[in-house]
Amino acid sequence: MKSKKTLVAILCCVAGITAYAQGLANLKITEVVVENTDGLVDEYGTHTAWIEIGNTSWSSTNVSGCFLTCDPGVLDPNLSAPQRIARMSQIPRGDERTNLSPKGHLVFFADGRTNLGTLHTNFTLTPGQEIFVALYEANGTVLIDSVRVPATLPANNSWSRFDQQKWLACTPDKVTPNSANDNTVAKADKIAEFKEKDPHGFAMTILGMGIVLSGLLILSILFTLFGNIMHRVNCKKDNAQPKPSTQPAKKADAATEIAVASLALHQALADDDAVKAVIAMALYEYEHDAHDEESGIITIIPQASPWPQRSLAMNNHFSK
């Protein structure tokens, strides 16, 4: 009993740690503005460089306790955790804003003034040079995400992440602090790339036809094989079934024969093969003019019903 409880506790811990780790892995640096002279302002109305962190998951994730840095030296694997932490800026705990909502975004101002609040870092970003930005877990050893912003990024433009991995420069009108990046930028970039590198559409045609044909080819091969397997299985089943008796059947009276024939017809109609056979036979007869010659005489057999009987009774009554 005790061992069971221990096992459950261990499993809960493992699951909890895994869930926590997965939660932090969903955090991404999504947008960086190095030189901000005309865009977003902080709580005090100041223009300053900023870094946006996004939660890519559909559940809330808390970023508090994690570290932000612009020092590429933290990548040195020989650094101990305290040495690395000393080079980074910790996101304070206890502020509800750091609990990112599903698909939420949060901007941190890189102004070197942590005394201004939770959303301010202890470092600044210097325009005109390549900027390294990294996000570390609270233990100071696990790198969650990092990015290198090119030195050529113009003022007020942002370096934005698209499709989880692609980074593009966005003009000031496409900068989106505290919200998801404008996907039209990525779309325009894709279109521009195709326009520039595949102006005649050969690459798209080769790729597209290749993908379509290979997909259908795999499907074709799979179902050819599967069809063969099914055919063999069916043959085996047929062979396993007892063969019909060759002894002459006992003579049945007319009513039984009709009942048996009717049942057989119903079974035949329920069976696809029989339907196909009937259609094929009909087509064959049509093609070879082998259909029956009809007499052209329509015979109506009266059905037994109470009405004619009464009618007859009335006629009989009046005739009397």
């Binding site: 279109i191 559409g201 036809m209 993908i211 044909l213 997909g215 080819l217 799979l222 179902f223 069809g227």
Partner: protein, 384 residues
């Protein structure tokens, strides 16, 4: 006197609000186009289920009115038509149509001879061929892709892709796609005769093998897994197509399959046709781009049909004598179901009245539906 003056002022105001006062020549032309579509549908029996809603939609969308915030126009927020149009704009009508198509489609012909899937794939060259020509004509890659999908001969796919890649051209693309689908009986037969010899047209294909219920149930599941893993961007179309087919083939959800294939499908077809027709307002439709789209649409149909026929001839080079395919089924690789297959059968019977190709042609025909959804997914993945 004041009352009289008030009356005359209001009456003259009323006159300025009428369609007669607001009409422009473009509206009149488009109303005539709509009426022509209705004529084709009723008198000539060209795809009446689609052309009547589209034709009427064209008339509805081109009724001139003064835009003074009445919230009645298709593009005006909060209008009823705008609400209906959201299914086109956000792309949820086409997948629902695909659900109905799946519930109505019998893949038996394809499963009986799976190599026919390749014919459906080859016909998609119409899409990519038209894409190259559209680029040559100066369209942007996203617009070219939106136009090229007409070659798939699949209206819902064309609407789905163009609403994502080239929303401003969607009206023209949709009308063009449905118009050419209706004209398949006129476009394909001359091409089929041109590209085949009399001997090829009289090839009798081997009778189809029996397909078990197990195969028919497994096909939509495996088909979805394979195609959607390969092209996830085609998921809305492929997912609904195979879902509809599973509803049908499982034999346990006949009621759902029946609803998906009849009432639900009919409702969506009505709304889709009507709103697509409405979106062809004169100012958007009567442009040089529309003429180019119609030219490209025709070319894409020609390329698609030809590549299907030629691919069957190519396949015949590798097939033994008793397994040869009749090239007349190649045209059915475009996914105009079942019209393209009926044409294969019709032309086949013209040359040999015992050569029934209908069921053989249904294979590439339904493969074309999968192929065009895959091609749309590829284009969407690369350009969106």
């Amino acid at each position: 006197m004041d009352t009289w003056s008030f009356l005359t002022t209001k009456f003259s105001d009323f006159l300025t609000f009428t369609g007669f006062a607001c009409a422009e020549w473009g509206n009149i032309v488009m109303i005539l186009v709509g009426a022509f579509f209705i004529y084709l549908a009723i008198k000539k029996d060209f795809e009446p289920l689609l052309l009547i809603p589209i034709g009427f939609g064209i008339i509805l969308g081109n009724i001139p009115f003064k835009a003074v915030g009445l919230e009645i126009g298709l593009y005006e927020d909060n209008s009823v038509l705008n609400f209906f149009y959201s299914g086109v704009r956000n792309g949820w009508y086409p997948p629902l149509i695909f659900l109905g198509i799946g519930a109505l489609t019998d893949f038996t012909a394809l499963l009986a001879n799976p190599k026919l899937l390749l014919v459906g794939g080859a016909a998609q060259f119409g899409i990519f061929g038209a894409y190259m020509i559209a680029l040559l004509m100066g369209f942007e890659p996203n617009q070219a892709a939106g136009i090229a999908i007409i070659g798939g001969a699949d209206g819902p796919t064309a609407i789905f892709l163009s609403s994502k890649l080239a929303p401003n051209l969607m009206g023209a693309i949709a009308v063009c796609a449905y118009s050419y689908m209706a004209l398949v009986p006129l476009i394909q037969p001359p091409l089929m005769r041109l590209l085949t010899t009399k001997k090829e047209r009289t090839i009798h294909m081997k009778p189809q093998r029996q397909v078990s219920q197990t195969e028919r149930i497994i096909f939509p599941i495996v088909g979805l897994l394979l195609t959607a893993f390969l092209v996830p961007s085609g998921l809305p179309l492929l997912g609904m197509l195979f879902f509809g087919n599973l509803l049908k083939e499982s034999t346990k959800t006949t009621r759902l399959a029946k609803t998906a294939g009849s009432a639900l499908n009919d409702a969506i077809v009505m709304l889709l046709g009507l709103t697509v027709g409405c979106s062809t307002q004169a100012s958007e439709f009567l442009t040089w781009n529309t003429i180019m789209i119609f030219i490209l649409g025709a070319l894409s149909f020609v390329i698609a049909s030809s590549s299907g026929v030629l691919f069957v001839k190519f396949m015949n080079l590798f097939l033994s004598k008793d397994k040869k395919l009749n090239p007349l089924i190649g045209n059915a690789g475009v996914s105009a179901v079942p019209m393209a297959a009926r044409i294969s059968n019709q032309i086949g019977l013209e040359y040999d009245r015992k050569n029934f190709l209908l069921m053989h042609a249904m294979g590439p025909n339904v493969a074309g539906v999968i192929g065009s959804a895959l091609a749309a997914g590829v284009l969407l993945g690369f350009l969106n």
